[in-house]
Amino acid sequence: MSSEMFVHGAEWTVKELFVYPNEFIYWSIQIVMYPYMTGLVAGAFVLSSLYHVFGQKDLKNIAQFSLVFSLALLPVAAVPLLLHLQQPLRASHPLLTPHFTSAIAAFGIVFSTYGLIVLSEIWFVYRAYFVRQVEQLKGQAGLGNKARRLVYRALTLGAYDTSDAALRIDHKAARILAAVGIPVALFLHGYAGFIFGSVKANALWMSPLMPVIFIMSAVVSGIALCMLTYIVIMEWKGFRERRTGAARDATEIKGVESETITKSTRYLLGFLVAAISLELLDLIFRGYTAMKSWDILRSVMYGKDFINIFVLQYGLGNLVPLLLLTLPGRTIRRTVVALILVLFGVFMMRWNVVIGGQAFSLSFSGYMHYEIPLIPHSIETFKEGLFGALTVAALPFLIFWVLNKFIPALRQDAGIG
């Protein structure tokens, strides 16, 4: 029968022993991507706020970049949810008829509040730059310049005052927004943790620590991604400078880069240690209290998912980068390897929560394995397969590339600090 083919989840779920008939891996790769992307957004914003709010001057270079990058990441945080819905055309319903006892009913509200904060902060930081662009492009020939000027005119929102008093207000507003943004960013992500942590039917997810664990790992991944992207861009700039023969500029870039990276690494390490401690606390607590579900949880964690959890997540994703970052004689290259591993580790943590939480049956008598669709042969296997995930992962860079054309994230003279 043809309808057999389209049972959601049947395609990629392999059952073992006794599993209830209706149980499948309903939440697949896109629900792994959702907290991963939200985490990156929140983390990137927190990194930028460390400079704006707490005056961590050494983070100035990366702060401005992180702010713009968090805007690029923001729309992508909602894409996995859209791709995962069985009725994507009804995606606006949670906003139209929110049912507030549901942990996901307020997603649209929290998400748009946060989006507005990021947008406004960027506007205050870059307003003077927009005004300068409007003035500089005035009277320049070419359709391109005219179009650019039009965009910048729209971006100023008609506020052309660049007096010292006006700039001071911009500065103050950006700082206030950055400060307000921290709790909202953390809430946005802690909230993603709550969505999982509050599912009482799921023995692995249900934990009041879940939101906090999510926040810590979010900041870790956000800082890591910003640092990594920053290094890649700076190295590329240095490479270009060297090729054009401007050797002095290249060393200058190197100096700025390594200083920024050293400072950011300190924050990364702090949050990494906090994240690992909380996760281990959760694990130890489950083992010690050994509730009814512990038998099956243990067989999943120490058996079926051992490689995923202890080798890939804790080992390769946490321990190795921790050593790489703390052992003396750290180089940029070693930092890059550590950052990639950190990002991988946080991804594996999301995977082990989302997929691991569905790896055992509610009957506690069987298991389910997720076989991620690699080559798509239908819309469903694209959306909930490898290529859907890769699309989501690539989107922020595409958006950043476009944003950076108008809001130069790396030009220190562009934004007000």
Binding site: G9, F18, P21, H84, L85, L362
Partner: protein
């Protein structure tokens, strides 16, 4: 007129709190409780399963699939029958091939033959939606597409469900699934379209042994209610605080 700021604020606060009180009270109640306060319905549907009468013929599953237009061969179902075989070594073997739809004609469990001499006990357990008094699926639906009726049955609005799957994740009993055709969450509703018209639900009607019965918990003279009130009945997974309303007679502690 003299009205100090302090007094003004005090009175405003008191007024606001008094006005909000009914709202707060209702919010902290389960949907069923709140409605029960507003209007006491004289009907609360309840289901009784006598596991000692079930022979695992699967007619209930068949009838359900046909009555409720659940694709017959698709691996999802609104109700199912589980087989439990406990061997002398204390091992529990459970299966439910095709949700038990075609009956249990083979002595093998997942390809493993079990020696009849080695069986300590064996029984069947029909499963269906528990129409919980405190349904987690209703709690987590972000759009209110799944809701509880006054008579205790949880329904799904196929026109409004966004297909997020949160309700499927929230149900501790695994009764929910995505309907392959409507692409919305689906579950057993005790044949609400039938019981509200005075008919029996498809599975109750199809059961040749009276293992499945339904009644009205608010009617003390209802034969099903009398059994529930006077006999030793059990529910599934009460530790989740869902207050399930499928009561079982002869339920073994091994059943999850």
């Amino acid at each position: 007129m003299s009205c100090s700021r302090r007094k003004f604020l005090k009175q405003t606060m008191a007024g606001a709190l008094t006005a909000a009180l009914p709202g707060i009270t209702v919010l902290s109640l389960a949907p069923g409780e709140a409605r029960a306060l507003a209007e006491k319905s004289n009907l609360r549907w309840v289901f009784l399963v006598d596991t000692r009468k079930c022979v695992g013929c699967g007619l209930c599953v068949k009838a359900c699939k046909l009555e409720n237009e659940i694709p017959y061969d698709a691996p999802i179902t609104r109700t199912w029958v589980e087989r439990y075989v406990v061997t002398k070594d204390g091992e529990t073997h459970v299966d439910s091939p095709n949700a038990g739809r075609d009956g249990y004609t083979s002595a093998e469990i997942r390809g493993e033959a079990i020696d009849p001499e080695n069986i300590e006990k064996a029984f069947f357990v029909p499963k269906l939606c528990n129409q919980c008094e405190n349904p987690p699926c209703v709690q987590v639906c972000p759009v209110g597409a799944t809701y509880q009726t006054d008579d205790g049955v949880v329904l799904v609005d196929r026109e409004w469900c966004i297909g997020c799957g949160y309700c499927i994740m929230a149900c501790p009993y695994g009764v929910r699934f995505f309907h392959p055709e409507t692409k919305t969450a689906d579950k057993c509703n005790w044949c609400y379209h039938r019981i509200s018209q005075g008919l029996e639900s498809a599975c109750v009607q199809a059961c040749p042994f009276g293992a499945r019965r339904m009644g009205n918990l608010r009617d003390p003279d209802d034969p099903v209610t009398q059994i529930i009130m006077t006999e030793r009945v059990q529910v599934l997974k009460d530790e989740y605080g869902t207050e399930p309303h499928v009561f079982y007679l002869g339920l073994d502690e091994r059943v999850r």
